[in-house]
Symmetry: C2
Subunit: 415 residues, 2 copies
């Protein structure tokens, strides 16, 4: 069952805006069992909209379109559809009253330009918009059913989920079943190599990858009727798990930070952070997940040596003898922040993220990460390769890995 | 002069990856004076590639294509082009030797699959790749000149800048001149309204907007021959500046954080931050710019009350009497972090970013920001509307605005 995603808007065709709508829709449609054979963008232009609709109406069975439903003069998708079909462009009294009510509920007066949003090609099926002012609609164009949604992502997503997906689900040539696995610690190319035989071993299964770098999501999609597709997907997922082993940290929507946070909470730990070269990135990753305040007491981002002394109680002598980027200072920072914050775990990162500040003895990419617990303190030395942002991200992830492995690790010898 | 951007790859058509290449190319081509009338994506599929090339060869004068030039079995753009043109698919000994040399220089052995990357449609002009293994090429398809570039963004961008742009510049119907202005503090819809007459007053000028929320870039593009286009652009830019006033904080590549950092450095200030509900976002914004360590001494992200007491010296009595989210605690945090870090300016943010933790008296979105300097301490109270991420971002920007306005502001009465 073929389909196309068609996004209308000069801001997209000119490259003023990244087209996240197309990506989101293509992903949703693929997951629903459709074969997305084209994503296309054209400017707000009658001829371009009409010729693209005519062409897609000849080549696919389903068209999902976004954009051009707003109140301004450059929004004329609905009128272009009426022209494509050669039908009158007519006002829907019901849609008009819904738009008017929406404005009334918000305590705002409806501007005359919003009235335009109540016009549709004759006989279109109108799709109410629960979260914005622009209703959508659907019509048949050639051999395709075509859905027209607003370009505002929040409205588009809500309407796709609530109104398009239920209407098209039965159309997919076959059903499908998908499992998402989350990995960290193995580069994307190596993930691909390790899984290179899976699609061959499990016909009907397609693997997809999405990098939220350095996390990589592996999607295992089995097409076919249920429950056979579910069984096939689960069998292939078992094979994927065998091949990736401990690189898989979770499934579904899980992030590495959420898994680390859950582990800390489950163990009843409290955490104090001291960051230097990562500039607060580790704390930001952990607190992006709801509920981080259950365990995270403080993140002291200390740039100056004085701040390391005053806020973390790092001995000036240690700083002088070893320099701020050293195993000794990392350990003193971890122990200091743990003590000051009265936390069960202290974790510290100090290093050189670059691009400036590297020397032969201490090059850009050199990073020390220390973890302090009641049982003792452990430090690791890393030499990361990459630009500033990559070194910071690698460092934050290596630190999260230490937190996940647990405070008991502090009893072990340095690796 | 019409053109199209054509991206090939199943990972794009399925929505596994956001298509930033299309956005970047469309922006570059628009700026160079071309009229981008279509951006299209198809999967790695011979028929889809061939039919799209044939169609675009009839409708545009320039096609820029990315993807499908790699060494793996699903990369066959070059062969599909040869089929489209009905010409032999032949090996270039020169390209093969360049690919081989590239592997030798990197100390790696060339795999047999890379040999495929030396095959091109007969008579194609080969475009060397200085930063990767896949050479590109150009051919005529119908009435269009078509350029084929790798899908790896870094390689694609380098080849577009070095080889495509010089070749096509003369093709643009006219030249153009562009000025970019950076704004903060006015919503995108209001920016658009304030500038609604500019395109009409200056025929030949097009305004473009790009939101790096809450910063909004305004692009003033004048098309026409130089130097007339430059004069036109500058005149329109003056009109834009008059209409947006102090909302414009810079031009070109400037970010708000870079302007704030430059102002602090120029005034010879040193800065200590104490953050609570923003979780280190303010520090992250400032340190994302090179050289922030010149002035930023510490960013103490204190979640627990104990951390506010221990790290910032906030009096337990003040916390008990007013609560952590209060003007009094914000001021004590700013003064405390300034004193402990021995900085010339202390700045503190405390508030409720949500989604949990709001009450009737202290709702989600209530934020206090305090700035402390030798001349005194000033605090502002804000009530932001939005989700957690938006409230954090608004808070960090409001704090940066206070830093930009200067420490002298501490002498003034609260606004």
């Amino acid at each position: 069952m073929t389909c196309a995603v068609f996004c209308i808007g000069t801001e997209l065709s000119r490259g003023e805006l990244v087209n996240t709508n197309a990506t989101w829709l293509a992903d949703q449609l693929t997951t629903a069992g459709f074969d997305v054979i084209e994503n296309v963008v054209v400017p707000d232009d009658f001829e371009a909209i009409e010729s693209t609709l005519e062409r897609l109406g000849r080549t696919v069975k389903l068209i999902v379109t976004t954009g051009g439903l707003g109140p301004t003069t450059d929004d004329f998708t609905s009128e272009a559809v009426a022209r494509t079909l050669g039908v009158p462009f007519v006002r829907s009294e019901e849609a008009l009253s819904q738009i008017r009510q929406r404005f009334q509920r918000a305590g705002r007066t409806m501007s005359p330009s919003n009235e335009k949003q109540a016009y549709f090609p004759e006989d279109a099926r109108i799709l109410p918009n629960r979260v914005g002012s622009a209703p959508g609609f659907s019509v048949m164009i050639g051999k395709a059913i075509a859905f027209f949604l607003p370009g505002v992502p929040r409205e588009m997503m809500q309407m796709f989920d609530a109104q398009v997906l239920p209407a098209i689900r039965g159309m997919a040539a076959h059903n499908s079943f998908q499992i998402r696995l989350q990995t960290y610690g193995v580069p994307e190319s190596v993930v691909g190599e390790k899984l290179s035989d899976v699609e061959r071993l499990f016909p009907g299964v397609t693997l997809g990858y999405r990098a939220h770098w350095p996390e990589i999501e592996v999607k295992v999609l089995a097409q076919g009727d249920l429950p056979a597709a579910e069984e096939l997907c689960k069998a292939a997922t078992t094979a994927v798990r065998e091949r990736l082993g401990s690189a898989i940290f979770g499934d579904g929507e899980m992030t590495f930070a959420s898994v680390v946070g859950a582990a800390l909470r489950q163990r009843g730990e409290t955490l104090a952070l001291a960051e230097s070269c990562t500039g607060g990135l580790l704390g930001a990753k952990l607190t992006a997940e709801p509920g981080a305040s259950d365990f995270l007491l403080v993140d002291a981002v200390t740039y100056s040596n004085l701040a390391k002394t005053k806020f973390l109680g790092v001995d000036e002598e240690i700083l002088r003898a070893h320099g701020a980027v050293s195993a000794e200072v990392a350990m003193a920072m971890a122990e200091g922040v743990r003590r000051e914050a009265q936390a069960s775990i202290g974790l510290a990162i100090t290093g050189i993220a670059g691009p400036e500040g590297g020397t032969d003895a201490k090059p850009v990419g050199l990073v020390f990460i220390a973890i302090a617990a009641a049982s003792g303190t452990r430090v690791i030395e890393k030499r990361f390769v990459g630009d500033r942002q990559q070194i910071q991200l690698f460092s934050a992830y290596a630190a999260m890995k230490m937190l996940l492995d647990g405070a008991d690790i502090a009893r072990q010898e340095p690796a």
